[in-house]
């Protein structure tokens, strides 16, 4: 499509009307985010008096205060460790299972994994709480990681679906060259399924990073909080100081926004891939 023709298309009367309706609508949808960001630069009195007005002066006092009073860095590290380790484990376990089943189909295993996929986390929550208590893993980052590895089943389904679409010639060639299954998995299968690993990885990263249910049930020590849990706990502390709470929210949202901007193509493709697994 040449640039002139696309220029024509967006200056048609119909397209102009669409712009005139959709852009303001988008601004209304985005208003809550404006509200959040603009109030981080205000004092409490200003926020109460005029929540939506621009700040009279831009000052970063709220940000300084939040960093002084809330161990954001600690929570960030906790979230990062839990997310990286559990997403890595999920991808590894999921792709190993997918490789095994693709190479040597097992009906029983497939049925069991479908079953696991259909069990809502709410059903296993209470037994898992007792189990982790007995294992001494409640209120620990390791406990969270154990719980999140349940996501391997979701990874398995997406990876196995992707593997089915790949040609077999490469594997055959490797076999003829005398490569064992371990070798084929590591140096041929994994590089071939890279696109789906990225897609699933992005999806699962967003899930673990943003998850609230698991930390709120399983974590009680302040030094083991994830970012989302920290924001939740801070509500009580800042219940009367709204700008401070909104500032903390913005700080916590920044990593996800950066992640979104760098990964948006994969997020959108993951959305469609994730939705077609059936």
């Amino acid at each position: 499509m040449s640039s002139t023709s696309s220029q024509d298309r967006i200056t048609r009367p119909g397209a102009v009307v669409t712009s005139l309706i959709m852009v303001p609508l988008g601004l209304i949808i985005g208003l809550p985010f404006y509200y959040v960001v603009v109030n981080t630069f205000k004092t409490q009195a200003e926020t109460t008096a005029s929540p939506l007005a621009l700040p009279s002066t831009v000052n970063f006092d709220n940000y300084v205060t939040v960093f002084q009073n809330i161990p954001v860095a600690q929570a960030f590290m906790n979230t990062l460790i839990v997310t990286v380790v559990s997403v890595f484990l999920m991808l590894l376990i999921g792709s190993m299972a997918a490789f095994s089943i693709i190479m040597h189909a097992s009906k029983t295993m497939t049925v069991l994994l479908v079953l696991a996929f259909l069990i809502p986390g709410q059903v296993t929550l209470i037994p898992m709480y007792r189990l982790l208590t007995q294992a001494g893993l409640v209120d620990s980052l390791q406990g969270l990681i154990v719980l999140y590895t349940g996501g391997s089943v979701f990874c398995y389904f997406l990876i196995v679906g992707y593997m089915r679409t790949l040609p077999g010639e490469v594997i055959e060639a490797a076999r003829i060259d005398g490569a064992g299954d371990g070798r084929i998995f590591w140096s041929i299968a994994l590089p071939l399924i890279r696109p789906i690993l990225v897609t699933v990885g992005v999806f699962q990263t967003m899930w673990v990073w943003n998850d609230f249910l698991t930390p709120v049930v399983f974590i009680s020590s302040p030094e083991k909080q994830t970012l989302v849990l920290q924001v939740y706990k801070a509500v009580g502390e800042f219940s009367t100081n709204w700008p401070m709470f909104l500032t903390l929210s913005v700080i916590v949202l920044i990593p996800m926004v950066i992640f979104f901007i760098t990964m948006q193509r994969h997020i959108v493709s993951g959305l469609t891939a994730g939705s077609v697994k059936g």
Binding site: H104, I126, R175, W209
Partner: protein, 327 residues
Amino acid sequence: MTLTDPRPVVTPKMSTRSGRGTRWWRAPSSPSGSSPGGNRLTLRLFLVPVIIVFIVLFAIPLVQSIWWSFTDFNGYSAETNFIGLRNYANVFSDPSMLAGLSFTIFFTLGTTILITIFAMPLAVVLNRAFLGRNFVRAIFFFPAIPSVAILGLVWGFILNPLGSGALNSLLSSLAGIGPVPWLSDSTLAQISVIVVGVWTSTGWHSILYLAFLQSIPSDYYEVARIDGASAIQRFFYITLPLLMPAMTVSWLLLMTGGLKVYDLPFTLTRGGPGYSTFTITQTIIQNGVSQAKYGQASALAVIFMLIVGIIVAAQLTLSRRLEGKVS
């Protein structure tokens, strides 16, 4: 920050097992070179981690949940008695459980219907060329990025029932309306939770529709236009039927996601006022974890699993039929 055209890595055809040609799992099973026994063993070993995950995180807890749902187990007393279906009967007489059940269903139906009504036309509009399209796409999609829990907390400030709440102060300065009890009135709180839920997910689902929309060949529309079909006719006779697969996917996600909802109502209202925005998940956590009423909570969990299972099964059957009809 722009949102470009969604390009699915995996085409929607993937799940239908069409077109099996030379696939690697059909590769000759007689290994030439390496030891035959060793090959099999390595493949079996590859399943060990997922089997451990299955046993520890799914099988054992599921069996325990089902067993506890028939007992008076409370985690402390030495003896556990089999009490038949009493826990199940209690689910339907305990006000917090009933409230959780009814609001969860209300939330699920409300968000599913509203999001579908908004997301589908939105996708059609976002598929057209207009100035600022990428901005509009990005801004509608953006609420799907941050944690829903944080969005719920932020909306709690916006919808604060006091006059100083952001929305109330906006309303009083624009229209002179007194403070509206958004989250302190039962009905308004339920509606508020649903509206915020719609706000967080409409853009996400419309991008899902958009991805399917872009796979519709443009010739269909050109032929229809030549035959004199109006824009509305084109929507109802081409777009809508061809979006059916997307709709079943979207509904499946909305229904199961809605039934499992916890973050949003809990962070926005803590389940209040009273029990008006209690969810099934919140009830399970409160009874099972905080109060150690394992039997009672497990019974609710099992009922919940059956509801989700029935909906998933119904959806899949329905979608098979619909897709069969359209294609």
